[in-house]
């Protein structure tokens, strides 16, 4: 068969299977149909729900402005898909092009998209994690449970980990006038993602809003009462905090276990793929029928020295799913690379925090607009003499400009003077990221080296 003939057939009567029915999976399915794919489409998702959006779960939902049950993603078009919800994919046979389901069923494919995302890292002590009142926040079910408990007027909420999600939860609790303690191993919130200079601003923000922020400490134990309800958290500095709700926000683990033994280059860092979203096998050879998108993927990016990036970003899931879907049904000459510039937002304590690029690569930061003291600023991160990332606090309208600087590898330190440059911004200072070899739950962009088959990952959950 000619190449054109093959793709014509694939587009009209091929079988596409998508594992992971969330943001990336739905976006890919919609894109396939939008691009004229008329073959069969199977959506496999282990959650019993149609695709829903997660960012509102730690924001609008906890602020009481949306229901945790109702964050379903809108549908851009009719999908005509076979939905297999509430059942997990349990294995993959690359040779036979078959996905095995947990209920024993098998589904064959011509093209497979892996979009299984990540899950919340649980509290490492299983007995303590089972205590009533201990939560994580990743899924709708998590949000429903946490929302209900926060509504029952707890005396204090204890958040473990001051990354984005933990900080957003603390923010929502303060908004509801609940007492909150946040414990963070680093010396400030958001340090893993944005560095110490910005972290110090985030710390002030939390304290001013009445959060009891404990930094430089780890939680050594969660204590339950005789009826199995959590009653206190013990800290490494000897402190004991009485609490009836604990939210564990220690970052995420990639959902790749179902691929163990399949021969794909999949491991704790995610599933490696090329810039065209095609998965690598464990030999470092790229496949042509297995594609990856969203939080579970790690892919090389030319702007960031071709390092493999793992991004836990909403926008990345959308963009990568669109590229993957297009490439799945296109001959090689028509394929597109996924070269999206990482972008992220968070909203906490009424402040809009956004970033573009890869802040964690930055060794220096320069406050180029506004001021840290006003908590309204843009900071540019420099890496080896070029602009590599930017962060804004309540200054989103400028970020587009910085994105262009990143895309064109503009020189750092920035030379021009801006409209509202303050004295503190004239010099670059160390961005102050923690030692990358130390385990942290913080960054939502992870650099994972150059090798597609790199499976190494040292994480010591060691009692946060």
């Amino acid at each position: 068969m000619t190449v054109e003939g093959f793709f014509e057939r694939l587009r009209t009567e091929g079988r596409i299977v998508i594992v992971g029915a969330s943001l990336a999976g739905l976006t890919a399915a919609e894109t396939l149909r939008a691009e004229g794919f008329t073959g069969s489409l199977t959506m496999i998702g282990d959650e019993p729900y149609e695709p829903y959006d997660r960012p509102p779960l730690s924001k609008a939902v906890l602020l009481g402005k949306a229901s945790p049950h109702r964050t379903d993603l809108p549908r851009r078009r009719e999908l005509d898909a076979d939905w297999r919800l509430g059942v997990a994919a349990a294995g993959l046979d690359l040779g036979a092009r078959r996905v095995r389901l947990a209920d024993g069923d098998e589904v064959e494919y011509d093209r497979l998209l892996i979009a299984t995302g990540v899950r919340a890292r649980p509290w490492p002590n299983e007995t303590e994690a089972q205590l009533d009142g201990v939560f994580v926040l990743r899924t709708r079910d998590d949000a429903v449970a946490l929302h209900r408990r926060l509504g029952a007027a707890p005396r204090r909420v204890f958040v473990i980990g001051a990354g984005f999600t933990g900080s957003e939860i603390a923010s929502a609790c303060r908004y509801q006038d609940l007492a909150v303690t946040v414990a963070e191993r680093a010396n400030a919130p958001l340090v893993g993602a944005l560095g110490g200079v910005v972290g110090a601003v985030a710390a002030e923000l939390q304290r001013e809003n009445g959060v009891d922020l404990r930094t430089g400490v780890t939680v050594t134990a969660l204590e339950g009462d005789t009826s199995g309800r959590v009653r206190a958290a013990h800290l490494s500095d000897g402190g004991v905090v009485e609490t009836d709700v604990v939210v564990v926000s220690l970052g995420a683990t990639r959902n790749t276990e179902w691929l163990t033994g399949s021969g794909l280059g999949a491991g704790p860092r995610g599933v490696a793929c090329d810039a065209g979203c095609r998965a690598f096998d464990f030999r470092g050879i790229v496949t042509d029928d297995v594609f990856v998108a969203g939080d579970v993927a790690r892919s090389p990016h030319p702007l960031f020295n071709y390092q493999f990036l793992s991004l836990e970003h909403w926008g990345n899931a959308v963009s990568q799913a669109e590229v993957a879907a297009h490439n799945m049904i296109s001959p090689s000459a028509d394929r597109r690379p996924h070269i999206w510039v990482p972008a992220f937002w968070s909203s906490q304590f009424g402040v809009n925090i956004k970033s573009v690029g890869v802040p964690t690569m930055g060794d220096q930061i320069m406050i180029t607009q506004g001021s840290l003291a006003e908590r309204r600023f843009v900071g540019a991160y420099g890496y080896q003499g070029r602009v590599i990332a930017a962060v804004s606090f309540d200054n989103t309208r400028w970020l587009q400009f910085y994105q262009q600087l990143i895309e064109t590898a503009a020189p750092f330190p920035l030379e021009y003077s801006t409209v509202d440059r303050r004295p503190e911004g004239r010099r670059p200072i160390p961005a102050d990221f923690p030692d990358p070899s130390l385990p942290t739950h913080g960054p939502t962009v992870t650099l994972s080296g150059y090798s597609p088959v790199d499976r190494r990952l040292v994480f010591t959950p060691a009692r946060h």
């Binding site: 959006d53 960012p55 509102p56 924001k59 609008a60 602020l63 402005k65 949306a66 229901s67 109702r70 964050t71 379903d72 993603l73 809108p74 549908r75 851009r76 078009r77 009719e78 909403w314 926008g315 959308v318 963009s319 972008a343 992220f344 937002w345 909203s347 304590f349 009424g350 402040v351 809009n352 956004k354 309204r376 309540d394 989103t396 309208r397």
Partner: protein, 81 residues
Amino acid sequence: MRVVVDLNKCQGYAQCAFLAPDVFALHGEESLVYDPCAGDEQRAQLARAVAACPVGAITADGTDDGAAPSAGPVRGTSDDR
């Protein structure tokens, strides 16, 4: 009606909050908070907000010329995500 806002694109201009105040609100200076499941009575306001957003950040279903909720795509204009 299901709604999602691409908050990477959103510039906090708040046009949506003027046009559909029961769905969209600013929280602080420029953080947009919205209800991802707006009531059916919001259909007209929502359609206006989708059309008015200067960066095309809002996607909703069912607001497209009265099409069926699952079939009618409504997307913003500068759809370059």
